[in-house]
């Protein structure tokens, strides 16, 4: 198919599809006139029954916890896939990669970035822990907090060098943390099966409404998810950096470097 016919096909059918979708959207209930019983029932039920103040978290981790388990495994599979695809291939080996575009001027990391980056690491970690730990009280939770936590590691990279980053954590431990986070979710589900009679049912004491240790297993699940997400993002980061900075292909011999060219 030539680009022209492809465009024609698309342009002819896209408006029709648009009309079908818009005509469907017209049938939605008007803004503010939700017919959703589900939300009403949950708002009435979740606070007294679960001692939880963030109903969204209650839906994600308690009422529909098995969906979240699926989402967590989507993340797990995506990270495993990236690590699999970016891993050392047969035709690659670790070594120092020559800069392909020699002669360009690479600005050194400025002092401002170094200072600010390092100064932000501590607060970022603290904030991440807060977001994870208060997921059942205020908006937040394991997914969001985990990403924030991984940002701290990224800040170390920004402020320093890849070598610093690599010395910061052992790869094995991070991998273990990621897989452990995914497995722990399932394990908590089985604990529910064993202690309360059904998968992912609550078995921890509900605590006092609004306190840090309330809402049963929801905060535990949040911690577990937070660990998995943070470790997963760190793995992603290091897989990409490893690929671009460390590995080189044998296919192409390194370009000959002109000794007379001015090096930065």
């Amino acid at each position: 198919m030539t680009p022209r016919t492809r465009r024609l096909l698309f342009l002819a059918s896209a408006p029709v599809l648009g009309i079908v979708v818009v005509a469907g959207l017209v049938g939605l209930p008007r803004f503010g006139h939700s017919t959703a019983q589900y939300g009403r029932v949950l708002n009435a039920v979740s606070v007294p029954e679960r001692h939880i103040t963030d109903v969204v978290t209650a839906v994600n981790f308690d009422y529909r916890g098995v969906d979240t388990m699926g989402e967590e495994f989507i993340f797990f599979a995506a990270v495993a896939g990236v690590v699999l695809l970016l891993g050392t291939q047969a035709d690659e080996s670790p070594g120092h990669v020559e800069d392909a575009a020699t002669g360009r001027w690479v600005p050194p990391t400025s002092d401002a970035v170094r200072v600010l980056g390092l100064a932000l690491v501590g607060p970022t970690v603290l904030f991440a822990i807060y977001v994870i730990a208060h997921g059942h009280l205020t908006p937040g939770g394991g997914f969001q907090g985990g990403v924030v936590l991984a940002t701290a590691v990224l800040l170390v990279y920004l402020a320093g060098e890849y070598q610093h980053l690599h010395g910061l954590y052992p790869d094995r431990a991070i991998e273990g943390l990621e897989a452990g986070g995914a497995a722990a979710y399932v394990a908590l589900g089985i604990a529910g099966l064993a202690l309360s009679g059904s998968f992912l049912a609550n078995w921890a004491p509900l605590g006092k409404l609004g306190h840090l240790n309330s809402a049963g297993i929801v905060p535990i699940l949040n911690v577990v998810v937070g660990a998995e997400i943070a470790a997963g993002f760190v793995l992603l980061l290091s897989a990409f950096l490893h690929q671009t900075l460390i590995l080189r292909r044998h296919v192409r011999p390194p370009a000959p470097v002109d000794p007379h060219r001015r090096q930065p």
Binding site: R6, L9, T35, Y38, G39, D67, G189, F199
Partner: protein, 579 residues
């Protein structure tokens, strides 16, 4: 049912194992899934089991949590997924790149497939759908040093993501209308009103999303690319499992959610589904004849047979659905086995093409290919024979005659294309299969797996009473009030259904005829493009076929354009018809 997920997730952890231990462990897990699913099948026999995660049983008709709603069809799907993954693990012993991570992904995929089959919640269905896609993307590209496989993975990722978006929009529309995500509750709420545009749009989008996964025309381009590029075990998954599950989801969603409001427009929905199925069956059958590349040819065979399976669902009656259940298992297993048998073309240049046989396993492999082709054609007593008999039984009047003719032609063409893989190579100056070096091993694990799959497909046809069981399960599958009643805790008695399945002699004759015709076709190869490899591909077939073939040379952009076109067409036809 929960131990299924557990078993898988536990194994995911064990990444630091030797290669041998990894695949043994993976195999043990998938075998355990098969065992558990079989136990479950016995347990749910004749009924519907509902399991609420977290113990959140519905209150006042509102489903608070997520339920697994387990019926015989779903368990059959889970059982089939386990069997197929077991076979895939065995075949993967041959593929070097299949390391521990790939096995872990395979197990996650299996868990997702099982969840997909058992779930009773629309959003949960979507979550497992996505999980399967994510695993598949990485598995297609597992051989990263090959650009084609990266391209195939990208194609799969883009097209299937668009499909997933469609499903998600559809779910959002339905949630806004019904305020529920449980299939049973949604169906109950929707049944209270006649179908309007919102319901129609949601139905069209959801159906298209799953048709993409099932590689139905015109959403099939990704399968051609991906199945050609992917390593054999992954291609097995795509043609055996993913397309079957896509079609299963259409049947599930239609019968639990949409059958209320859309029942008044039964004929229209039927004609849309059957139309897409017929187009797919014919296009796949024609194009598989002119593909010189073995894996590409098998991809079209697979597409063609998915079309037949869609027709079975599109009949929208219990007999067709029963046929689909058996057909999906028997045919899916056979197609997957073929992918494991056929050797991917080596990319070493300078060797004379055809100097090694196009399949694995020497004579035994060749015999298996012949058996598989017979299975595809529906030779009695194969499982596909039983299924096709049911399929034809599901139509009536002239439709029955036409359908019988279509099944005959499509079966003959695809079986011929498969058989031709053997004959064409032998006649093309290649060495006889006996000259295959013995080093590959006569009865290697992959060969055993293929034999098991093909044999299993034939055994399905002779299990006594399978047709009747399948029919009663299908009748219950389509009974929305009973489904909703059971889920919401107000059980209603199911209408008793006991009907003997008597296929008569016609399907048997058709099966034999199709096999014979396929054999004849393979011998005389009217459209043979592999006889002379220097001739540009597609020079032999007549002009219309060549045009069609050229359509499949495009990239991802073409695929997306066709996706838009197909969705617009299905949406517009449904909208105009119901207005």
């Amino acid at each position: 049912m929960v131990p299924l997920l557990v078993a898988v997730a536990v194994v995911v952890l064990r990444r630091h194992l030797s290669r041998r231990a990894t695949w043994m462990l993976t195999l043990a897990t998938s075998a355990a899934v098969v065992g558990l699913a079989a136990t479950l099948l016995v347990e749910v026999h004749g009924g519907l089991h509902v399991y609420w995660f977290g113990g959140w049983t519905p209150r006042h008709g509102v489903a608070l949590g997520v339920s697994f709603t387990v019926d015989p069809f779903g368990v059959l799907g889970a059982c089939f997924a386990g069997l197929l993954v077991s076979a895939v693990v065995l075949v993967a012993t041959r593929v070097e790149q299949f390391g521990a991570l790939a096995h872990a992904l395979l197990l996650v995929l299996l868990a997702a497939a099982v969840g997909f089959c058992l779930t009773g919640d629309l959003f949960n269905l979507f979550v497992f759908f996505e999980l399967m896609s994510v695993c598949t993307i990485a598995l297609i590209a597992v051989n990263t040093s090959d650009v084609r496989s990266l391209r195939g993975a990208l194609h799969f990722a883009i097209v299937n993501s668009i499909g997933a978006f469609f499903v998600l929009i559809g779910i959002a529309l339905l949630y806004a209308r019904t305020g529920a995500l449980n299939l049973a509750v949604m169906g109950q709420r929707l049944a209270a009103h006649p179908a309007d545009q919102l319901v129609v749009t949601a139905f069209a989008l959801i159906v298209v999303g799953f048709l993409v996964k099932a590689a139905i025309v015109p959403f099939h381009f990704w399968l051609v690319d991906a199945a050609t590029a992917a390593p054999a075990p992954v291609a097995m998954l795509m043609v055996g499992l993913l397309d079957t599950l896509g079609l299963y989801a259409i049947a599930r969603v239609y019968w639990t959610v949409f059958s209320g409001p859309l029942h008044a427009h039964l004929a229209l929905v039927q004609s849309v589904l059957i139309g897409a199925g017929v187009a797919t069956a014919i296009l796949g059958a024609l194009l598989c004849l002119v593909q010189p590349l073995a894996t590409r040819r098998l991809a079209f065979v697979s597409i063609s047979h998915s079309g037949l399976a869609l027709i079975a669902i599109g009949l929208l009656n219990p007999i067709g659905l029963a046929g689909f259940g058996i057909y999906a298992c028997a045919d899916g297993a056979t197609k997957a086995a073929l992918f494991s048998l056929v050797r991917a073309p080596r990319r070493t240049r300078g060797r004379e093409p055809g100097s090694s046989p196009g399949w694995h396993g020497g004579r035994v492999g060749a015999a298996l290919v012949v058996l598989a082709a017979a299975g595809l054609a529906g030779l009695p007593p194969g499982g596909t024979y039983l299924a096709k008999g049911l399929l034809e039984d599901g139509a009536s009047g002239w439709g029955r005659v036409l359908l019988g003719g279509l099944v005959l032609v499509v079966s003959a063409l695809t079986a011929g294309a498969v058989l031709h893989l053997l004959i064409g190579r032998r006649a093309g100056g290649g060495t006889a299969p006996a000259a295959e070096p013995a080093a590959t091993g006569r009865w290697s694990w992959p060969l055993l797996a293929a034999a098991g799959l093909i044999g299993g497909a034939f055994v399905l046809g002779v299990v006594p009473g399978l047709g009747a069981h399948s029919l009663s399960a299908a009748t219950r599958f389509e009974d929305r009030p009973v489904y909703a009643g059971t889920v919401l805790g107000v059980p209603r008695p199911a209408s008793p259904t006991s009907r003997e399945v008597d296929l008569g002699v016609v399907p048997a004759l058709l099966g034999v005829a199709a096999t014979a015709a396929g054999w004849g076709l393979a011998r005389y190869r009217p459209f043979d493009s592999s006889r002379d490899r220097r001739r540009p591909v597609g020079a032999a077939p007549p002009v219309p076929l060549r045009r069609l073939q050229q359509l499949h040379r495009g990239g991802i952009g073409d695929s997306a354009a066709w996706l838009t076109f197909g969705t617009a067409t299905i949406g517009a036809v449904l909208a105009l018809g119901i207005r």
